[in-house]
Amino acid sequence: MSITLDQITKHYGGAPVVNDVSLDIGDGEFFVLLGPSGSGKSTLLRAIAGLSRIDHGRIALHGRDVTHVAARKRGVGLVFQNYALFRHMTVAENIEFALRVRRMRARARRERRAELLRLVALEGLDDRLPAQLSGGQQQRVAVARALAHKPEVLLLDEPFGALDAKIREELRRTIREVQRELGISTVLVTHDQEEAFALADRIGIMNYGRLLEVGVPHDLYSRPATRFVATFLGAANLFLARRTAEGVQLGAAVMPPATATPGEREQEVVAVARPEEVEVAASREELGSRYLGRGVVDEVMFTGALERLRVRLANGADGPLLVMAGAEGEENGALQVTRTPASQRDLELRPGQRVAIGVRRVHVLPTPLSSFTACAMSASLAEELVRQPLLAELVARTLTRVAVRVEPQLGDPAAAPAAPAVGFSGTTVMSGSDGESAQRAEWLLRRGAKDLLVLPPDTAAPQRVLIHWMGEAARSATLAMSASVLRHLPAEAVYVGIFPRESADARQAQGLRALLDARSEAQAAHGLEMRTELRFGEPASELSARLAEAPAQMLIVGVTELSRFGERFRALLDGGRWPVLIVQRGPA
């Protein structure tokens, strides 16, 4: 491995800007760090270069630990968005800078300079000043300068940001060629997914300081694991669908499962259909793919090779409701479709036209966070719950919607739910403001709520999320839920392992092993980086003690059975001091 990052964390003013990032980049690999501005990608790059100190973690370049090595001794080449050429020096002096620092002989310097100028196709411009060059030429000089001292790693920070489209493409090709020719491990930071696709061997996508997913461009595009990646890498239609024994039910269509997951209970899931996988036809019979529902063409946009459509869903009486995951008012229900010239010729479309919609392929996201249902004893209380800042933030960040469910007898042990026929789907949310939270939570869990978020009033986004499960059966689901929540919140994850206090000494080794197991499972199966803590005592009281230690913490706790629930959870839930997300998975 030429670049190894191990649990890199950097805080800025309390909030993590780089959050537990671990990554291996191979020899000669072209790795692209992709993310929106403020996602921490540039900070991570500067940390690799040694220009930005990290608070935690380890950086190794070609097996050499450089965590505490100064930037000038790391042997990296760095290219900046604004070129950062030395304006009082000529092109030749700029390129030879690193060689001069190393006291290389004039003749050897000249030879190396000629070689580099050939590499970036700038022969003969040795004596120009940067101000006399175009932006594209300046960036070529910057690349040549960064390569002069034969660095082991080339780092590029938005190198095309300041260039216009045509120059950008030329320079992109040059950089790819240079990288191949030298076989140098390269990390490029960008917010442009097209650029990432064009250059990358592998892409790592960052958001809120976390490295969300890493993979080859095609896999990330066709099988994203998170909503963020699905929508950030090109356009995506997100649906709320149901996974049943037959497959994924999406509107009128039932898609056979791509991978069989036997024993999986029926549940709400988030399905992704790319605009090019959606088909429109004049009638249901003319569709070449599975019928999804009806729609009305809203907008037709010609973009050269492809035609872009927006089709508004018109859910009729002829099939189950098709629900888009996003909840952006009028925008909801507008499907994005792209069509090739061939299908444009077959059927000409105008705004206002009624069409049948089909889908060729959908991808189901592995996230357990599908949608939210705010549950309260009255509609006004439920509406109040919807406006809670943490819930509003989660809903906005997971691009989903929040439904309202009124249970007048919430918490009354004698009463059945108002509408027992309709099960709880997605994550149920209840208010955790008073002394009866544990009782109400039990009531909801006993009546079918699987994931329950107990939300005290005015809770802001947590800075730390504690994770624990009571019973091994809930382990995998709790980790999956934690991974999903933490992908949408800029918080650090801490797994708290708790063992009985008696025989603590004997349990120490066993406990540590359990922590390591939990950590590696989180990393391998769910892409979640978490720290671990070991405590001894009774779980609920240990957890509430830990939660009381610092403000802005949240708990995600897995449970397997509900016996003595009120007794066990009173300390955690009553009084409403922190948000608690309960993940219930009975032993199958």
Binding site: L51, A71, R72, L78, A84, H88, V101, R102, R145
Partner: protein, 278 residues
């Protein structure tokens, strides 16, 4: 540039007219009057006045102390500007505002304040005296006064240039293997050099013309701590207007020569780069 090009200010003709008018009435006319007044002297009289040992001593002090003061400001003004642009610390705004104080104070006040502190019984002077360092009433005091009143020029000239040296340039140099002193010498200094020279020139010009603050701390011993502006005033007090004018012309010539040299040096530095580019 075309004369008809639209601009915020009314036409080129009008603005150019104003410029010439103001320069003429405020700068050129008085200077011409000065030269004329001196010109009405007989050549040998003129020569006698401007080469008297007392006059020569005053030139040496005036220009020597001014150059020294400007050089001191070159170093310390740079350090102050660096601190103010590079670091965030409590009270930064206050210090930034303090820099301009010498501009606002009547120079006589600065002179009196300095004398109070550095006189042989002053706050600092009393500790320097036993060490054999006499500040007040020596050339050292003159230099100190000139340094104080010309310091803002260097700081204010260098500050914007330092802001322009982007952090990226230093980062780039560092990743290329350069240590901090090397980065300073090869990257930061060359970038701010023109601004430093401008600051030096302005400081020097201000120091040569200074009168108010110096006369209090200098002691004004002929040949030793008497600056040329003071000598001119002495001539005036004796109603020797021509003698004063003659000394004025010499100061004018010498100052102009120094400023022109620095300007030419700067221009030469710039041209050297452009030439290197072809």
């Amino acid at each position: 540039m075309s004369f008809r090009q639209a601009s915020v200010l009314p036409g080129f003709g009008l603005t150019f007219g104003f410029t010439t008018f103001f320069l003429s009435t405020i700068v050129l006319l008085p200077l011409a009057a000065l030269v004329l007044a001196a010109g009405s002297m007989h050549w040998s009289d003129f020569w006698h006045v401007v080469t008297s040992p007392r006059a020569l001593g005053s030139y040496r002090l005036s220009f020597g102390a001014s150059l020294l003061a400007a050089s001191i400001n070159l170093v310390f003004g740079f350090i102050i500007a660096w601190t103010l642009t590079r670091y965030e610390f409590p009270g930064r705004k206050l210090i930034d505002a303090l820099i301009d104080m010498p501009f606002a104070l009547p120079t006589a006040v600065s002179g009196i304040a300095l004398t109070t502190v550095f006189a042989s019984n002053g706050w600092i002077g009393r500790y320097l005296e036993p060490l054999g360092v006499h500040v007040a009433y020596t050339w050292l005091g003159v230099t100190l006064a000139l340094t104080l009143i010309s310091m803002p020029f260097t700081v204010r000239a260098v500050q914007p240039a330092l802001l322009e040296v982007q952090r990226d340039l230093e980062d780039a140099a560092e990743t290329l293997g350069a240590a901090r002193p090397y980065v300073f010498r090869r990257i930061i200094l060359p970038t701010v050099l023109p601004a430093l020279l401008t600051g030096f020139t302005l400081s020097f010009a201000r120091a040569v013309g200074e009168y108010g603050s110096v006369i209090f701390i200098a002691g004004n011993l002929p040949m030793k701590t008497e600056i040329t502006p003071l000598l001119i005033v002495i001539h005036l007090e004796e109603f020797d207007y021509r003698g004063a004018a003659a000394l004025g012309v010499v100061m004018l010539t010498l100052s102009f020569a120094v400023l022109l040299t620095i300007n030419l040096l700067q221009g030469w530095g710039r041209r050297r780069h452009v030439r290197a580019a072809h």
